[in-house]
Amino acid sequence: MNIEYSRIGLKVGLEIHQQLDTASKLFCSCNPQLFKGEPVTTFLRRLRPTQSELGQIDSAALFEFQKGVKILYEATSETACLVEMDEEPPHDLNQEAVETALVVALMIKAKPVDEIHVMRKTVIDGSNTTGFQRTCVVALGGEININEKKVPIQHVSLEEDAARKMKEEDQIIRYRIDRLGIPLIEVATSPVIHSPQEAKEVALTIGRLLRATRKVKRGLGTIRQDLNISIRDGALIEIKGVQKLDLVALIVENEVQRQLDLIKIRDELKEREVKARDIKEEFVDVTTIFKQTKCKVIQKALEQNKRVLAVKLPKFAGFLKRELAPGMRLGAEMAEIAHFWGRVGGIFHTDELPAYGITANEIHELAQSVSKAPLDSVVFVADTLENSNNALEAVVQRAREAINGVPEETRAANLDGTTRYMRPRPGAARMYPETDIPPIHLKNEYLRKLRDHLPEMPEQKMRRMKKEYALNLKLAKQILDSEYSDIFEIIAKETKVSPTIIAVTLTETLKALRREGTNTEKISSEQLRELFSLIDSVKTTKEAIPEIVTWLSKHEGATATRAVEVLELEMISQKELERMIDDLLEQNRTIMKERGKGAFGLLMGNVMKKVRGRAKAEVVTRILKKRLKEIIT
């Protein structure tokens, strides 16, 4: 579907969060790495609502507390100390992280603050052991240029990353605190982006700027983009945790579509004359209807003495199953909200029935028990009485919101470009000062020094790479956006191998190998440098690169020399090559007779296949042409 974004009043703001590659975490000296395998220590905590320093109690925290949620934290001694456990006050703010943030700020001409004030932002999902996330604004203002347009930057900040959720089972949520405290830089733009494509370009440009500092982490999960999206008549929706740049445009498209369709549903509900007060919190216990049900989910719930509660949504028939954007339906949104507030596994609604083993007869009885009219919809859940009540209250609330169109909320990005309900949008007053850390004064002298030593700007670097290494624009862009731009320059300087070949290897070849399943992240810079020095000294050829790289990816720490030996990819001597060519010509006498010089292509292909990259193509060509000429004449 083609949408004219300029006509629907699309406004997008980006918040980019990028993990920094510092020696230690933001508020302690722990190693900022994730651990694999089993935790060494676990500890169990409960969320308890207490008054904040401002005297408020967070209603969401209170709600979680009443539900009796417990949080199990997993830790190892390398990646967590008492600071992450919230058993010790935070140490000083990591100077290396502050400096990196300042460098980014100065690169985009933002104005550093006079004093850095660390703040606490209330977070009640358990992802922070403290119940808040520490964050501080480092600079304000600034701008980036995208295709001649200036995109204003609101602020550059530092934040501590949150613990990562591992599992959620019944009353216990598991978090790993290795990620907690890893420094994140946040760059937030003004909401001046007006199309999905532009959103992607802004994200790309900021990503390049951050990488120019050489102080950012690489790989999936190290960068997360939050999108603030609104359209006219819609609502401000915050979408959190977009991990891939490629998804930015798609997510904006999907969100616009979702909001447009919710607005459409609003209009249709208006036509059906549905009023908020018509949607009543009248929950009917319909457990007896399902006593003999074939539906496995309900069967299992009833075995555990749970109840089935139903609620009628007047004149909602058809809306719950309607697709908003690809893969997203109003019914699914209600299920997500019901899960959030009621911890139920899912909801059933009559729009999608009969299905899941629920029979027409059961639906009929269900309809009768809530006096459903043909245009009504019925939603029901099977869980404990308390959970079911909470879930249906949330469903009723969401249905009422549908009458007004798009409810403001925070959503989470899925890997396929869809989004899901995450939580209501938090109130503005979530921030208060971190009282354990004194303000940090930024001295002019220090800022001047930083300003004098800013890294090369990405556009500048691209122009230079194009010129200095005679790369074409596409290749220069690719190498700049890859994680290999530094190593590219090192190799190009220390060997005489053509920079284009180095660049192609580090971008396209590695990409192709990744697609085939080779774990190219295992290849170290040292191995790459050695590989090219072998090519440089004609110990092997560029044709052998894919095989060598694949072997190295499976043999961590091995040398490229060893790879060449094991794979028998040493260069073939001239003599041996001549013998091989002679043998081949002998075998193909008839073809040569038939085709004469025209047999060259076929023979060349055969030789190259046989030498498997162990001879330079130009040498093979020369010998083959010479021999062919000799034989034919």
């Binding site: 722990c30 001694s77 008492l82 456990m85 009282t435 354990d436 004194p438």
Partner: protein, 159 residues
């Protein structure tokens, strides 16, 4: 040690550098003292040390590194007379956190050096050694706060 096996307990164990040349620095200066803060302590103790020509004082404070306000003027007097005053914690496995409460921030403003999790006794002996190496108070401060042989651990672990 178990059956000829050595278990290294430090996570940042530094191996002996065989290329390094041995250089003995055995000088100590005994004009350093250790004062444990407790309610009812008489701040004149600090003044007494100053009068007797002591050059450095390790305080063993409560909790995150505090002493009662009534000791502040004595501490200030000592610092103004070029005495090096540093803080340690009397808590077992304790670490200072002198920016958490005003008391700590005020002490830092007076010029008291926080020594993280260095043991008070270690700090005392180290201070004696430091003044054996230098008479310059600024150099002494740097040396006292430098982590030379694991007397400071940057991280407190839970086990």
């Amino acid at each position: 040690m178990e059956k000829d096996e050595i278990t290294v307990l430090l996570d940042d164990y530094r191996k002996r550098n065989s290329a390094r040349k041995l250089c003995l620095k055995p000088k100590f200066n005994e004009k350093a003292a250790l004062v444990k803060f407790h309610p009812s302590i008489n701040p004149q103790i600090i003044e007494w040390y100053l009068d007797k020509g002591y050059r450095g004082l390790i305080l063993e404070g409560t909790g995150l590194g505090h002493v009662g306000k009534y000791c502040f003027s004595a501490i200030q007097g000592a610092i103004e007379n070029d005495m090096l005053v540093a803080m340690t914690s009397q808590c077992l496995w304790g670490r200072l956190g002198m920016t958490v409460y005003d008391q700590g921030r005020d002490l830092i403003a007076l010029g008291v050096l926080p020594l993280e999790d260095m043991l008070p006794e270690t700090a005392l002996v180290k201070l004696m050694w430091v003044f054996g190496q230098t008479t310059d108070i600024e150099k002494a401060k740097k040396l006292l706060q430098a982590n030379i042989a694991h007397e400071i651990s940057p991280r407190t672990l839970y086990d």
